[in-house]
């Protein structure tokens, strides 16, 4: 009977190195368009230093023995990414219809997706938070709350 080969765990340091090369590379490329030498020096130096350190990380990761591998926990990242997407939609909605209309929707939906099923409590939170923001930050302190593009068109 043959045994299945053990699944090799992905070492996220390789992914990190790729991100680092892209990040530092973008800055290095952008720095080449800076005309002033003194102004170009620091970002160029830092970009190169970052890429050198990324290379050191790559070599260190490649040479690390099985027993000494770093543990990285990415479990639950799917849910975290979904939450980030919800935040993105919330930002888009806030930019469109304003904070006061988008926030109750965002709060209710997110609470539901996170497992909250007490609809009364959800409704209270969804309504009271924008109200508190309005009373305290807008009315009392005069802070500017995003009203959205629709409000500007109207």
């Amino acid at each position: 009977m043959t045994t299945k080969p053990e699944k090799k765990e992905f070492n996220y340091n390789y992914l990190s190195v790729i991100f680092l090369y892209i990040w530092a590379g973008a800055f290095l490329f952008s720095a080449t368009s800076i005309k002033d030498d003194a102004s170009r020096m620091f970002p160029t130096f830092i970009s190169i230093a970052a890429m050198v350190l990324a290379t050191v990380l790559l070599i260190k990761t490649y040479r690390s023995k099985a027993g000494n591998k770093e543990t990285m926990d990415f479990s639950g990242s799917r849910e975290a990414v979904i939450f980030a997407l919800i935040l993105l939609l919330y930002i888009g909605l806030a930019a469109l219809v304003g904070f006061y209309f988008s926030t109750p929707v965002y709060l209710y939906v997110t609470m539901y997706l996170l497992g909250q099923r007490n609809h009364k409590l959800m409704a209270i939170v969804a309504v009271s938070m924008p109200l508190i923001i309005f009373l305290f930050f807008d009315l009392l302190l005069g802070m500017q709350i995003p009203m959205g593009m629709l409000a500007e068109w109207i």
Binding site: Y12, N13, L15, S16, L20, W23, A24, A26, F27, S30, A31, I34, D36, A38, S39, M41, F42, P43, I46, S47, A50, L53, V56, L57, K60, E70, M72, F74, S75, G76, S77, E79, A80, I82, F83, A84, L87, Y90, I91, A94, A95, F99, T103, Y106, L107, T110, M111, L114, G115, Q116, L121, V125, M129, I133, F137, G142, M143, Q144, I145, P146
Partner: protein, 499 residues
């Protein structure tokens, strides 16, 4: 004469506005997205109609309690309300997870109080002579001082120093975006107009710490922040004996905070870093730092609030803001027709000393807020995550917007939230990134000025007592994490030779 100033400072109107400022400051400091800067900026126009002393006392109270308020959320939900409180999360949050959230709030309250009192007393008695020392800091000294903060934080992550250095490099790169501090030309903005000036500080810091933390909470799928049913045990009132044990730590950390606050550009992060490092090295159990060490929490809190008084020393005596928040204070002085400098203490002595006594009094509000408000704040950890996460998320997004009233900043906070999440999961420390980001532009400006000076006169610029002392301190902090390993290597060599 002092009694006269005290009586004026503690009039009914001033006490009323002191109370309002203190409460508002603590709330704003605790909310992710708000800060002392936000509070002072909001209240500046509100103080137009107030007497100068009343207006300045209000702003001072906000400054004091906002610096403290950020500690509460940092300790209880690992979400620093302000970038000043990021060191709080190292030992404060682990205490909360152990069910000692109230104790942690109590420790940070007493330490912040002591730090604030010492900073205020220094401001009161030693302002002019101390400011003379800061005037001697040239570009090289300022460069070495600001590098100190970064070197310290990288050195703290000894087991992951490579990743700490990488994190710091990325923070430096982000700090370079926008206007060049010397030429005033825009660079590295990738064609994005909203990055013409700079990458906005508050959305970046909030994203890295608050939004990423919220994402981690989502990923962990825990029902509440604290582990276990009895998350909050004990009391916020710390026993006298325990307070005495930490008194020495609190006092020297407060002094460090005050002295660092005086140096323009250094700020709370450098002060907190220095005092944390010293506390760790002098502790009999240094390995417990980062895992809920009470001294680790106390020293940072004391240093943070010591900076408040210190940062106002160069502002009130020389007109040089010690940090960004005290720069807003400058606006407050100018609005009321007051010019900072020696004349402030001679021609408007009652206002200058009234402000200082007001700041001294505001520190007592820290005790009230901490002791009576702590159980209320601590209950935050029992709120279900399904409610806390969306609410904190919304506050963060709103906070990002209110910084510059730009919808673009809401995207910035999300992007850096994702980056912060990945960095945390991939074992990259975020503290070096944020520190390098906050200090990066200043480091570059001082570095380039230093290069100009060195090009002119290398020996005279570099080989002076103060720069050499600062350089030595930087090297010590950078190399000290390797000292035990070096000692072990020396011992092995000795033993091998003996054999």
């Amino acid at each position: 004469m002092f009694l006269e100033y005290v009586a004026q400072a503690l009039s009914f109107t001033n006490v009323l506005w002191l109370t309002i400022g203190s409460v508002v400051g603590a709330i704003l400091g605790a909310l992710p997205g708000m800060s002392a800067d936000t509070g002072i900026a909001i209240f500046l126009p509100l103080t137009f109609n107030l007497e100068p002393m009343t207006g300045l006392i209000t702003l001072g109270a906000i400054y004091v309690t906002a610096s403290y308020g950020g500690n509460i959320t940092a300790v209880l939900i690992n979400t620093p309300g302000t970038s000043d409180s990021l060191f709080m999360t190292l030992d404060g949050y682990p205490m909360t997870v152990r069910g000692q959230g109230l104790q942690a709030v109590g420790i940070t309250t007493v330490s912040a109080f002591i730090g604030g009192i010492i900073g205020s007393v220094v401001l009161l008695f030693i302002a002019p002579p101390l400011a003379q020392i800061a005037v001697r800091f040239g570009p090289l000294e300022l460069f070495l001082t600001t590098m100190m903060g970064i070197v310290i934080i990288v050195g703290l992550s000894k087991d992951g120093m490579l990743k700490g250095l990488i994190s710091a490099m990325l923070g430096f790169l982000c700090a370079e975006i926008g206007l060049d501090g010397i030429t005033g030309m825009t660079r590295l903005n990738f064609g994005i107009n909203q990055l013409y000036d700079e990458l906005p500080l508050l959305p970046v810091v909030l994203g890295m710490f608050a939004v990423s933390q919220v994402m981690i909470l989502v990923a962990e799928k825990r029902k509440t922040i604290a582990i276990g049913e009895e998350a909050i045990k004990g009391s916020a009132i710390i026993p006298f004996k325990e307070q005495m044990k930490m008194l020495t730590t609190n006092v020297w950390s407060s002094i460090i905070g005050t002295v660092v606050g005086i140096i323009p550009g250094a700020g709370t992060t450098v002060a907190a870093g220095i005092s944390y490092n010293i506390a760790k090295k002098t502790d009999p159990n240094p390995d417990t730092f980062g895992k809920g060490n009470k001294r680790g929490l106390a020293c940072v809190s004391a240093a943070n609030n010591g900076v408040v008084g210190g940062s106002l020393v160069p502002l009130l005596t020389l007109g040089i803001p010690g940090n960004g928040t005290s720069a807003l204070f400058l606006g407050g002085l100018l609005i009321h027709g007051l010019a900072p400098g020696p004349k402030l203490f001679s021609q408007h002595a009652s206002i200058a000393y009234g402000l200082i006594f007001g700041i001294l009094a505001a520190n007592f509000f820290i005790l009230l807020i901490g002791m009576f408000g702590a159980p209320i704040y601590a209950k935050i950890t029992k709120v279900p995550n399904s409610i806390l996460i969306p609410v904190v998320g919304a506050f963060c997004i709103l906070g990002a917007y209110t910084f510059r009233n730009m919808a673009f900043d809401m995207l910035v906070i999300l992007v850096f939230g994702i980056i912060g999440y990945y960095m945390t999961r991939a074992n990259f420390s975020m503290a070096p990134f944020v520190l390098a980001f906050v200090l990066g532009k200043n480091v570059e400006i001082q570095f380039r000025r230093t290069m100009q000076l060195l090009g002119g006169n290398f020996a005279e610029t570099l080989f002076r007592p103060l720069p050499m002392a600062l350089l030595a301190i930087d090297l010590i902090f950078l190399l000290s994490p390797f000292w035990p390993d070096f000692k072990r290597w020396l011992d092995r060599k000795k033993n091998a030779q003996a054999a």
